[in-house]
Structures are given as structure tokens and as C-alpha cells.
Symmetry: D4
């Protein structure tokens, strides 16, 4: 098996149902990845080691997901020069606004590329866009992916024009 | 000089004008402290070392101040069993709400005792309250401090009763 | 039975399902506690008496939980020099942001150590960290607690590496 | 001098520049008042005594102003059956949203009638509306006050029609 | 039947399940009331007439409840010198923050006494506190009401002391 | 069939259950419309073409609905001089506040007329009000619509007066 | 002079410095307008009369600006079938979020087309877009306006390409 | 001169004083860039062309800055498979929260890597981290940059230890 190019880290396995979308889109785009549970607060040294060794292990991008006072992405970004993508996880109290602020408002010098709250799928696509800069095959697959997405919208629109609003809605409920 | 009992850490010297209030109240309450600049993101290992060695160096409480995606207090709390007090620093864009969320919304297992935005003085008082549990002299000084604060309010009220609103306001402007 | 060292106060018994986490973690860490229902607004004098007598009754830390215009922690902090920890309870309208602001934004002079919204477990851990400063047995138990928490993360990660994402998720749903 | 019918309490003399508007409108409406500085947190017993004795001292309404974790109005409302009006004071970090939430989100049983952030003038008018229910002279003055306010708007509009936008703006800048 | 002293107005019958709490507490406190559905936007003239005739019809206080861009209380306050109490109704999108801002942030000159989001019960109690200023029987009932509320808290606390946390929680779930 | 005068565009068919309200009210008001699925991000060129050709195709008003980083209405407004109405769709994380900000805060020069979050029905009514300026039949139907709405409120109020609160509520639950 | 086609209403002359932008853009686009000061709360009947007579007086669009609990636009929309555009005015405490919510979150049946906070210029442009549907001359001027705006951006870009960042910034500061 | 590898686009030249930080850090890190003013709303076709031709023109990363309803980054991301970094510009009314939401909350399929509000410097660093994946010289310069940043923190800390708080603050004010 090829070496992983993208590392996906999450602070808790409770983030996995969201982050599975990242793994699926990376598979769809043909990019090797690994998934790791490693909390910034509960196992800080494991997390630091993971981040500081990522480059020499051949990773190209790291995706970090966390909720609440979501320090994981920032803590990883502190230990590597690889690009780090952060996914703020929705919280039950503040809807994920706490996660978003904790990830996006990084101080000067240590950026984290922040996705939408629960934006797991986009994290995978963005990683692929980065990888695709120097990998023509990946770039081609990203283009194909976007074309299919566009085609999906057009097909839905065609169906709507054909069925009309009421019949379309009736079918959606099935 | 006695060993410091309270460590004050801030991510940037730009936090110092706010955090000077912590140092002043600790002096007033007769508690030894040290002040350190150590960013969670720019010097993560120094920060981790500071936190993990704090206990054996004799510190009893750590106060951490940071703004924006304020990870400092959480990162320190991950590396020590000493109580960690967090001070969210006001930011020019979100008023410090980003700092507050990043500090207070810690996940289960790793608490940070959060003060008000820019609540530097209260961080010092709270540290003294902790220290005072087992140090009768400190506790006495905290009581004295509260008494004087109460007296200050009463004196202002007396002056207001004496002068009336208009004259009091005129004097405030002087 | 030993005297309680931590007092847990809540404004309403509707906070009890959340605050039970505090009691459980204090039991796990071997710290005596008491639990009291006493509203700042409905029984203000009982609350004031509870707070002002806490020190002489041997309490070392008070934990106060309330929701909405959550004045309980501040009102207690006004009447004692013991450290007061506040737990903002989630509300159905504002998600607990009202509780958070009402607890954390205390004025200069009267700090309340604020936990995350519904952060009941962390309130107990933080109380233990305070108590542990001068109680080696408690401190040791807190360290043990953190080690086990770390071990839990590592075990989950090992399991994830073993099972892969899909099988892990399938097992989570069981 | 007649007994005060309205008590104005503020947590700090820093609120006085805002709350002077309350005193001015009460004077304009011919209602006796008193002004007191009494913090819920710094002098809790003085505050409780003030509130619990207000009724027998002949007060009819209490206005309480505070900022941040603004507990003053709620703490007073806990100790009296007189109607309590709360004025949330603007804060430099959160614009007064913290004050607003701390005052308005009172639990069932203990209402506080909340005004706009820095709504000191309206607190006075509302107190007058309450007093006016059973005092025909006050009610008449409130009506007169509203008529003059309406006339003021109409005069501005007439002037605008006369001058046009540009000349009106030029005059405003003078 | 005696004349109503309190008028309860709501913009839509969808507010009635919340506002029934107002009617219940007013009944408990022995205060006559009337309930009216009258939208500020859908039947503006009916609403204006209701407000402008309220005084001569003998009402002493008006309670207005609305959600979203909640103009009802302000529109009523514009047409009467009676005290107007506003109840912001929770909304499904913004949790009632839109309702709260629309009611509490009234401009200078036209106050609305704002309750908590969905604070229907407190609106009734506050109306009773106003009425009670000049009605000894009502005031006495409000005092009795507060005493019983306090007793309720004390009984819950006693039961908690007796049963302990676990048994109390078990009974709550029944 | 007559040419459509109003174009309804939505970024995804998941917005259709909300936007069906727009279609229903337009039918009720006798205004021809068309419904199109066309995402600003997934099919940008289709969207641009739709907007830039709208005028010559005879549309008079465009309604655009989107959620999250809701660019659709702004992107359409950039390509036409027809009035564009934006409907922010509620989101599961931020309640639709993200959608609202993305639609309403348009820069100088390119307005979007923003409705309430999920305000699909009002978008249709507002389009009818625009169309009605120069179409007496439509204007008359809008007036009739408002009259019936008013009558509906009055009927509910009459029923409430007749039944009383309890019976009315009992009937609502049926 | 031709009859005004657009009515601009504001609750207070303090809104005029913002709303002057509306008047300027309407002049630029050759559309007759009138400007009126008329508060929803201070002169409710004048406001209602203005709105209910607008149609017969020949107005086609009404623009209403207000801040805080900004009811003006909604109150006007309640009394007319003309399209009403709302401009939320920035407030010193909540930045205009209160104004925005009070204007945009209108209940079903009574839409207000909301612009950005302080979006006075866009209110004028949007009114022109509405008027332009049936007035080819106005529509042409709106197109011209958009073309010039586009040209302005292109000229700035050309200048930037010519000067480079530093020189461009230096010139901006002049 | 070498071809630009990073394209910096901003919606208005008013964003240039903030975005100059991006240009400076890219120069420091030795990465060729270009700067373009191109609004998503005022010159949508120019913007679309810029984005859709970026890949063949040899750009590797695009940075887009905008404020308010900030659609620029999303509109560009819709037209290219290159990674797009978004910089939300601070706004005078909502502090940039509107810009942040408009950029970060992108729908599934079209990611934008969002930086902090006004995080112009980090956008440049993040672009360099991306470029550095396959360019050893750039990666080395990023590492050097981080080392110097770390050294800067350490030097400040040393100076603070040497001078103490008061003298350090005195020097900061110079």
C-alpha cells in the first residue's frame, strides 16, 4: 500500500461520524490517507510527536478536527510546516461557533485553513486541491469530481422542470 | 527572594499592559510570582516544558493569558495538574469573544478556570484565594482586600449622598 | 464520615442531572463534598448564609451552577474568600450563552472561575486540582485520572488503527 | 422635602454618567428619587438591606444599573416585592450584551423589567408610568412629556421640509 | 365580574401556549385580566385602538408578547402612558434573540419593560408587583407567592439532603 | 401559458421544501413564475447566464434562496438590473445567521432585498408588491390578501373571546 | 416639480447623515423623492397616515430607516401594499445587529426588503431597480450606473498594476 | 521576472492596507505573486475569467480578500481547482463576523480555506506552506521564518526577565 499523503487527526472518536466524509472523498479522489485519534489536551505529547514527524513520514497535508475549545489544529500547526486544515465540529451548546473561533482566529505566524462547521467533506477536497498542484492525476480527478457535481445540479434542475414543484417534493419525501 | 508560587504566562508581550494588573494585585496580596512570555504556537516546546516542570519548580497556580484562538491556557493545562486560570484578551475584531470561547469551552477532563475578558486583576485575586486555602496570612490579606473594596464603595456612596449627582459628576470629570 | 471539602450549590433541582457529573468525579477522586439546592433569587438569605459560613464549616472550594441570568456563583463569591467555580447551565433559548456571560463577566474584585457550558465534570476536576495543591493523595489521584484519560485515547486510537474507520463506526453504533 | 418614591441603585460610580439621565427625567416628571451606590458583589449586605427595607421606607419602584455580569437588579428583586427596573450598562468588550443577558434572563418567579442597553432615560420614564397609575398628576406630566416629544419630531420634520436635506445637515453640524 | 386590570396582547395565537403562564399566575395572584390577539402588522389599527383606549377602559398594565421582528409591545407603548411589559417569544431560527432585541432596544422616550425570552410567568408577576404598589391585597398575595416559592426550594433541598443525589435523580425521572 | 414574471432560483433542491411557500403565495396572487435549481458555486456559469438573460426573457423580479455562505442572491444581482430578493435558509449549525449575513451585508452598488430567515412566503408577497406597482390586478389581489390576513386575526380573536384561553388551547391541540 | 416616486422616512434626524446617501443616489439616477422624519413610536399616527396615504399620493416605493428596536419599516409595511425597503442603522452598543433583526425578521404576510446595516446607498439603488421595471429611462440609468461602477474597479486595478502595491498605498494616504 | 505563483485578489482597494501584509510575507518567503482588484459583484465576469484562467497561467494558489457579504473567495473557488484561501476583512458594523461567515460556511463541494479576520499575513504564510510541499527552497524559508518567530518570542521573554514588568512596559511605550 502506498504511503499516506494526508493525515486526518481528531480529538475524540465522537468526531468520527462527521469525519468519515473526509475519508470517503479522499478515497473517491484516489488519495492515500491515515486517520488518528489524538487529543491536544489528553495526549499532548503524542499529538506533538505526530505533528513534528509528519513531514519526514511523507505526509503532505494534515486535517485536524475538534469541537469546543478546539486547539488541535493550532497545536499541530505549531509543530510542522505542512499545511494544516481545520474542521470545527458542531457543539450542542453553541452550534460550533466556539469550535470555529478556536480554529480560525489563529495568531499571526501560524495559519490554520479553516473549513465550515462540520465541513469534513470540503477538508478532503481542499487537501486534494493542494495535492493536485503537483500531481496531474489527482488534479484531473478533482476536475472530474467538480464536473459530476455540476452535472448533478443540472440533472436535478431538469427533473424539476419536468415534474414541477409538487411532484418533485412528493418524490423527495419517498 | 522567595520562590514564585504563581506563574503568569502570556502568548505575546502585547498582552502585558493588560496583565500588569495581575502582577500588581499579587504584589498587594503578598504572593510571589513570575512572568513569562511563551506562545503556545510559536514556541510550543518551551510552553510544554514550562507547564510540565511547574509543579516540581514549586508553582501552585498558573495564570495564562491569550487572545484570538487562545490555546495557551488549554495547552498548559494539558501538561500539569496544577490549577490553570485563563484570561481571555480583548481582540479588535470580535471584542474578545473568540478568546473567551477558546479558553472556557475546554473538553471534559482538562479544565481551565476562565476569568472575564481582560479580567487580569481577578486572575490574581483568584490565585490568591486558591493559595489562601492553606496559607492563613494570604487568606487574611484577601479578606482585608475585600473589606477595603467594600469600604471604597461605601465612601463613594457617602460622598454621593453629600454632594448630590451633579456635583459628584463634576468632580469625577476633574 | 469526613467533613465535606467541596460544596456544590445549584439554583434549581433541574440542574441536578447535569451536576451529577461533578459528584461522580469528586467521588472518583476521593474528595468529600456536599450538594445543596439554594437559589440566589428565591432564597437569597439562605444562599448568603451558606456562602458566608462555608469557610468556618471547613469547605475549601464552592462550585455553583445556574442557568439564564445566572447570579448564583457571583452572589456566593461576594460572601466568601473561598475560591468559587461557576458552571453555566445550557438554556433552551440561548444555548447557555446567557448563563456563560452572567457567570464569567464578573467585575473587578470578585472572581468566579468559569467552566464550559454544562462543564460539570471539569468543575469537579478543577476543585480537585485546587485541593491537590496541599494534599498529596488527591494530587496523586488527579495524576492517575489524567493518565487513565490519556490511556483511553490511546486505546481508542489503537482500536481505530486495527479496525479501520468503517468497522470502528459500525461498532460505535452498537 | 418629600420622601423619595423611586430608588436608583448602581454598582459603581462609573455608571453615574449614564444614570444621570434617569435623574434628569424624574426631575422633569416631578418624581422624588434617591441615588445610591451599592454593589451586589462588593457590599452584598448593604445591597440586601437596601432592597429589603425599600418597601417600608416608602419607595414604590427601584431602578438598578450594572454592567458585565450584572447581578444587581436580580439581587435586589430577590429581596423586595416592589417592581425592579434594570438598566444594562454598555461594556467595552461585549457592547453590553453581557449586561443585557445578565439582567433580562431572570428565572421564573423573580422578574426584572429590563430597559435597552444604557437605557437610563427610559428607566425613569417607565418608573413614572408605574407611579402614574395611581397618581393623576404624574400621569398628566407623562402625557405632556410624550406630547412634547411628538411635537419635537414634528418640528424637526417641518424644518427638514423647509430647508431640504443639505441645508438641514449643514445646520446639524454647527 | 370585575373589570380587567391587566391586558395581555399577543400577535398570533401561536403565542398562546407560552402566554397561558401569564394568565395562570395572574389568576393565582387574584388579578383580573383580558387576553387579546391583535397583530401590530396584520391589524395595526385594531392594535392602535386597543392601546389608545386602554387607559379609559380601566386597564393599569399591558403585557405584549411577540416573536421575530417583535414590534407589538413598542407599537402599543407608543399609544398609551400605561406601563407596557414585553415578552420576547422564542423563535426557531435565532432562539428568540431577534424577539429580544426588537423589544428591549426601544429608543429614548418610549420604554418597554422586557422580560426573559418566553418569560410569560414573570410578566404576570411583574404586573402584579406594579398593581400591588397601591393594592395591599395584591401586594400581600405577591409576598405569599414569593414565600411559597422559597419554601418550595427549601423542601427540595431537604429532600435532596435526605435522599442523596442518586435517589433524588431516580425520583425525578419517575 | 403566460410568460413567467418572477424567477425563483435556489442553490440546492434541499431548499425546495422551504421555497414551496413562495410558489404557493405567487399562485394565490396570480403571478406567473418559474423555479430553477442553479448553484452559484457548482454551476456558476449557468447561474450567471440565468441572471444576465433574465431581463430579456421578460422576468421582472428574481428571488434567490441559499444557506450557509449564501452567495447566490449576490451573484445574481451582479449580473442583472432586475430587483433581486434574497431568502436566507436556516442552517443546522448557526440557525441561518450565516445565510442572513451572507445575503444582507452586500457592498455598496449591488443591493439584495433580504427577507427573514426561511422567509419564503414573504419573498413571494414582496415580489407581488413590486409587480403590483404597475399592475392594478395584482395590486388588488395583494390588498385582498392583506384583508383576509387581517380577517383571520380578527376571527381568531373573536374565537378566543368566546372560548376563553383554556378551551381555545384545547382546540388548538386537536 | 414632478411628484415624488420614492418616500424616504426616518425615525430621527440623527439618521440623516447616513440616509443622505439614499438621496444622492436617487438624484444621480433621476428619481424624484421626498424625505420625512416620522417616528413609529413618538408620532405613530403621523407615521400610519403617511404610510396609508402613500399609494394614493403616487409614491411607488417607501424606504424606512431606523436603529435599535427599529419598528418603522414594519409599521409602514403594515399600512400599505407598496414595497417597503428597510435600512438598519448602526447602533453604538450592538453595531446595528438589533436594528437588523428588528427589520429583517418580519412575520409571514408583511415583508420588508432589508438592506445591509447603514446600507443607505443600496436602498436608493434598489428603489431605482424597482422603478426601472416599468420605466425604461430609469432602467437605462441604473445600467449606466453599474457600468461606471465596473469601470471604476477596472481603473483602480489598472492603476494598481501600473504603480504596484507600495506606490498605490502611498497615493491612497494622500 | 518569474511568473507569479500566488494570485492575490481583493474586492476593493480599501482592502489593500490590510492585504499589504500578504505581499510582504510572500516577498520575505521568496514567492512570486500578483495583486488584482476584481469585485465579485461589480465586475463578475472579470473575476470569473481571472479564476478560470488562473491554472493555465501557472498560478498555484489564489488568495481572495473581501468584507461584508464576502462572496469573492467562493466565486473564485467555483471557477478553479486551485486551492483558494479566503481572508475575511473586518467591517465597521459587525467586526468582520459577516465576512467570516460569508467565506467560511461554504457548501459541500467548493472549499475555501479561511484565515482569521484580517489574517492577511497568515494567508501568505499558508500559501507558502502549500507551495513548499514541492519546493524545497520555499519550505526551507518557511522553516527559517518559523525559527525566527520563535527566536523573537524567546528574546522578548529574556528581555522581560532582565528588565521586569515595569521597565519592560516603560520601554514598550517609547
Amino acid at each position: 500500500m502506498a504511503n499516506p499523503r494526508v493525515g486526518i487527526v481528531m480529538g475524540s472518536d465522537s468526531d468520527l461520524p462527521v469525519m468519515k466524509d473526509t475519508t470517503e472523498v479522499l478515497e473517491q479522489l484516489g488519495i492515500e490517507y491515515e486517520v488518528v485519534i489524538s487529543s491536544a489536551h489528553r495526549v499532548p505529547q503524542k499529538t506533538a510527536r505526530y505533528a513534528s514527524s509528519a513531514e519526514e513520514r511523507g505526509l503532505e497535508v494534515i486535517i485536524a478536527a475538534a469541537g469546543g475549545a478546539a486547539h488541535l489544529a493550532g497545536v499541530i500547526a505549531a509543530e510542522t510546516v505542512l499545511p494544516v486544515i481545520g474542521v470545527p465540529i458542531k457543539t450542542s451548546t453553541l452550534g460550533g461557533l466556539d469550535s470555529l473561533y478556536s480554529i480560525v482566529q489563529m495568531p499571526r505566524g501560524i495559519p490554520v485553513a479553516t473549513m465550515a462547521i462540520n465541513g469534513a467533506k470540503n477538508a478532503g477536497i481542499f487537501a486534494a486541491q493542494i495535492v493536485g498542484i503537483n500531481d496531474a492525476a489527482v488534479r484531473k480527478r478533482v476536475k472530474q469530481f467538480k464536473l459530476e457535481m455540476a452535472k448533478g445540479v443540472e440533472q436535478k434542475d431538469e427533473k424539476l422542470q419536468e415534474l414541477g414543484v409538487k411532484a418533485y417534493l412528493a418524490e423527495m419525501k419517498k
